[in-house]
Amino acid sequence: MAQELKSINLVAPAFKGINTEDSPLAQDPSFAEIADNAVIDKRGRIAARKGHSVITTDKTELGSGTIRAIKEFDRSVGSNVILSVGNNKIFTGTTTLTDATPGGYTITADNWKIVNFNDKAYLFQASQAPLVYDGSSVVRLDSVAGAAGVVQGNEVLSAFGRLWVTGVSSNPSIVYWSDLLIGHDYSGGTSGSIDISKVWPDGYDEIVALAAHNGLLIIFGKHSIVTYSGAEAPATMALADTVAGVGCVNRDTVQYTGTDVLFLAHTGLKSFGRTVQEKSLPISSLSGNITKDIISALQSENTFFRSVYSPEESFYLLTFVGQNITYCFDVRGTLENGSYRVTRWLSTGFSSYARKENGDLLIGTINGISQYAGYEDNGNTYRFKYYSPSLTFGDASRIKILKKLKPTLVGANNAAVFIKWAYDFKGTYATSEFTVGDQITGYYGESEYTTVEFTGGALTNQRSLNATGYGTSVVVGLEADIKGSQLSLQEINVMALIGKLL
């Protein structure tokens, strides 16, 4: 006897991002089990990320290395300069990477942190004499006239009119600050230091990172955080708050979002939420949907962490460089559990980031400096993946027999799309492929009477694919090779026949 097909419409699938924490069976279909090379687009849909367009044309100095850090040197007079590091060298420029390493200066690592301060750029990394770039050349900081007490720290912060340096291997709990507006004087004027070894709420910790937020100096330890108020006058600044049990994994994971400070803790991505009325700093976990994945990744990371916040793209990227994994957190809002929507980018080769003043997002790769733009990775395709959580259609005890899958895509011009489905948590997926047709938008006045008619903007494409097999739970996936055109997954309408009870 014929039975009615049951329609499960996955509207805006995965617009809540990845969730690997909850049970697949109990999950909201709005989550995704996998969302690779994806972002949440402006309409709240899961979409393919942008690619990177390599700017560098001459990477001779970089050789086989990769760009490990990028910083736009903002100066009051003249055009800005992009500083980057890689292959144990300091570079200036983007199209041609010009070696600006000081003569006779040997660099043994590329884990530099670069900050702008008072019309100069300062470069710090552990066990390396700090460098300074004044717009013309990079020199050792201790060679600058008037330099005194320069420390070799691993972390530097430009805030409150001073440079704050920490991460000195011999004194891991001391923060040094420079004289006012003088980044090379650490023993004169109003310079000084603070040893917070007696301040750690857990008794002992080591400083990892520094941040300035909401008038506070935030000192991140590995397992705890202390904040100081009144850092405008460091000699009189006072402890404002301490947080035990939460620290920062790496200095390069700290990013400012304007209202928050994001950082990677050992239990995931965290942020300080600014609460003006309570004058407190509640900490929320922003990676609650992928906690285990994050923890696993950070535990396995043995190279670099890199991150960037892009208000233009509304995301915070966190890259585990050694594992070539990037998590993309959509910062436009949080879910019910306080987490950001998150997607994952795999095998991008991204090794550093920098957001320029104009909003451009620069990416460091083995090819030099790229810009986050277009939908190709240096001319190559990359695969967008979406897999739903296990769907039970409201009754996990009955067999589901998929009949049709009807994805609605936006964009994806000429892209080959693979619809996949599998039953009962099995890793074997059935696949149905189709190619999206020409999705070039015909704008009025541009293409009329030529090759296409003008359209309403981004074009949508709906397909109806027959499905096979049966099982009590179903996973539906979509993969597409992105090559030059955006792709957004609007919805997937799953038509299933509900079978007998098992």
Binding site: S173, I174, D179, S187, G188, G189, T190, S191, G192, S193, I194, D195, I196, S197, K198, V199, V226, Y228, P234, A235, T236, M237, A238, L239, T242
Partner: protein
């Protein structure tokens, strides 16, 4: 025997021979004259009155000489008696507290005085002198050691409060998470600098105060030494003061003795003068008779027999 006398004004001593010499010649010459006169009389009976006159005159001369000698001897004895009578008499004064003053003639004839304190006063004096010596000794010592001692005592008194202040600040700093602050401007924090400055100023004040105190103590010790020294002489001063009535009494006694001696001398001298006057009168008388006889003998007149002479002598 030559009797010695003295010239009070010159201190020269004369004997009889000297007096005879002063009378006009040597002793042998005078008797040679008398011998010659006798011979003359034996040979010339008419010159017997002259011889007698000469003898009488010689007798008068001799008597005058004897009178002078006796007067001189009496004066010598008087002077000796008066010297003995006016001799200083040793005396002693004993005060009510047992100290004493003594005055005596020494073996060399000099006057010796002694003052003796009672044992209690001597003990007190020794104690006071000892104290004065100790105070002067302390006053003359360098003050550096005393300054340090006073400073340490002041620091001992100040340290607990300073310790409390430091602890309170340390607690505040710990609560503010600022224990580890080191600045080029202040060294530590401004509060630490302020407290350190305050404590250092207090320390400096204590040091200056200690110096001042040590100097004051030095002056005080000098003053005490002076007072002790003055007080040490107080028994002696009181002895001298107590001596005054005794001295007055002794002076009165001395005056009385001198007055008695003077009276005795005057009386004795009056006797001697009376004797001298009498003897001089007798000598003058005898000398006058002799002179008349001599005058008659040498004056030309009828023969003068023995009867004449006896008539002259009232014997005929």
């Amino acid at each position: 025997m030559a009797v010695a006398t003295d010239d009070v004004s010159t201190g020269t001593v004369y004997d009889t021979d000297d007096i005879m010499d002063m009378a006009g010649g040597s002793k042998s010459g005078f008797f040679d004259f008398l011998g010659g006169l006798t011979d003359f009389l034996g040979n010339n009976t008419s010159v017997l009155p002259g011889v007698l006159g000469g003898l009488l005159t010689g007798e008068a001369y001799g008597r005058l000489s004897d009178v002078g000698k006796e007067a001189r001897m009496g004066a010598d004895e008087l002077a000796q008696r008066q010297l003995e009578m006016s001799q200083f008499k040793p005396f002693t004064v004993t005060t009510a507290t047992g100290s004493g003053f003594g005055s005596m003639m020494g073996a060399d004839g000099g006057l010796q005085t002694t003052m003796t304190l009672s044992p209690e006063e001597q003990a007190l004096q020794q104690q006071l002198f000892g104290g004065a010596g100790a105070f002067f000794g302390q006053a003359t010592q360098p003050t550096a050691e005393r300054e340090q001692e006073i400073f340490q005592r002041m620091r001992t008194a100040m340290s607990p409060e300073e310790q409390r202040q430091r602890q309170e600040q340390e607690q505040r700093m710990a609560a503010q998470g600022r224990l580890g602050v080191r600045t080029a401007q202040f060294g530590g924090t401004p509060e630490q600098l302020a407290l350190a400055k305050a404590q250092e100023e207090a320390r400096n004040s204590a040091m200056l105060g200690a110096m001042q105190q040590a100097r004051q103590e030095q002056m005080q010790q000098a003053a005490l030494g002076q007072q002790f020294l003055g007080a040490g002489y107080m028994p002696q001063q009181q002895l001298v003061a107590g001596l005054q009535p005794g001295l007055t009494q002794q002076q009165l006694e001395q005056q009385s003795r001198q007055f008695g001696s003077g009276m005795f001398g005057e009386a004795t001298m009056s006797g001697l003068e009376a004797m001298l006057s009498s003897e001089m009168a007798r000598a003058n008388l005898l000398g006058g008779v002799g002179a008349n006889l001599l005058s008659g003998a040498v004056t030309p007149k009828p023969a003068f027999g023995m009867s004449d002479l006896l008539g002259l002598l009232g014997k005929g």
